[in-house]
Amino acid sequence: MPKVVSIHSYRGGTGKSNFTANLATTVARQGFRVGVVDTDLPSPGIHNIFDLDLEKAPKTLNSYLWGEAPIEAAAYDVTAAAGVTGQGTLLLVPSSVKPDDIARVLKTGYDVKLLNDGFRQLVKGLELDYLFIDTHPGLSKETFLSIAISHVLVLILRPDKQDYQGTAVTMDVARQLNVRKLLLAINKAYSSLNQEVLKQKVEEAYGAPVAGIFPLSEEVVQLASEGVFCTRFPDHSISREFMKVASQIMEG
């Protein structure tokens, strides 16, 4: 059965898109058909990491939501761009970066039912094994929907007070929406922090497992938004950490 995985963070700047791209790529490298949807309509960005030129990609998630195209027509094959070799396939549905399109989303919104139907159509039409949803930060109807339909919800947080509190709110929402499996990922952890202690403290505070801890890394920052880290540096400790999170998503 296909699995839907939502990646969310309560606040912006947690490295959510980078995390989603790396995680989806890691899963695709195991030989699966993986789709990624950028539902961050007000501030899209994940297409940059997959090096997709939106000038050459006329159809987007927006086109689908406005009834201009079926959602499959907005899915682009980024397998090679992500550096995935072998059996796996990686498909991306980007959101439009045109100011007019973003303004239209902000002004008129869209029917959240369509998003649900689109996800299902995408999984069915493209025969996906996994669908990753890159969400807009904060809580909105779209986030609620993504959480409600997910088999796995990954919440990314940084070790600071604002993230801690916001994550607690999101956890309450996720539990109310009966999410099946909830994983936490800590990003931008200072190297001075004791990782085991940090993991233990966060797990205790939220009552959910920490699937991975990612250090604040200059290497990632340098490469940020340009190519997928885990295929460029497959043996790096960060890539291994992504593998750890990926196996927790794939199990069960």
Binding site: V4, R120, L145, A148, L177
Partner: protein, 341 residues
Amino acid sequence: MGNGEFSSLASSIQAVASPFRQYLQDLHGKYGAVNEGAVADYIPELALADPNWFGICVVTTGGQVFEVGDCDKLFTIQSISKAFVYGLALEDHGRDYVNSKVSVEPTGEAFNAIVLDEATNRPYNPMVNAGAIATADLIKGDSATDRLKRLLAMFKRYTGRDHDVNVPVFLSEKATGFRNRAMAYLMLNFGMVTERIDETLDLYFQQCSIMVNGKDLAMMAATLANGGVNPVTGERALDERYVQDVVSVMLTCGMYDYSGEWVYRVGMAAKSGVGGGITAVVPGRLGIGTFSPPLDAKGNSYRGIKVCEDLSRDFGLHLFNVARAEHVLEDWLQGSGADGW
């Protein structure tokens, strides 16, 4: 957590993502592709309907709302109004008096037949035109305006929103309703309606021209299924004592001269209208509203009937069903969005 606004948003999102809505979505795809039946054209305004319009809405007695397709598209309620106006007449006069003016026997005749019970001169039931005109005559009010306002207020209690009369449709119905006028005068001749006949006919044509959408029809049915209380607003729309009266005549007479076959196949109390709407009640559980303008030969929405047949069969919603259904409704309603991929 647990405050009202949050729970209500969470519940609406769960309804969007639920396996039951997915089921309705599949049903919509299955019958949306079928082009059977013809749009009503006895008045030009109705002929303007797009045969592709198609909405399915289900509202549970717990207040969950499941919508697929054109559920916000407005259309005229037509004969569906008859069941609800009958409820108001019962509230205005009580059962005995209303029964003395309108019987509750199915006719097997067409909805516009000019026929009265020979022994009592009563029209056969409140769902045929003659019975509906006699019922409209019973609606209390100081003036024509007052009576119409009482009807509109009643529909608001059922749906939770304001309603208007479509004036072009009303005027067309009025200009072409010779048969209805003839029936009214026949009943006047037998003393079954009062002398304010033109006012009552106007009220009848107006009640048929009230604008509703598929969601309204589901909400109205869910209100009856919920004992007369709107499950979302909590407002009472109909005196508890008369819910069974209204639901009974819907069951036996609601689908024109298809009513017998309808009860046999689908087994729900329902009322259809030539505008393309059907409202169907599953007491204690849910209300269904469908909207699709093409009608079959009996004047019922072709796709609407198919949708109700499937829902009845797959979830065991037939009134007299005791067999185990393929799907357990409660599981599908409450299931998580992660099910059924």
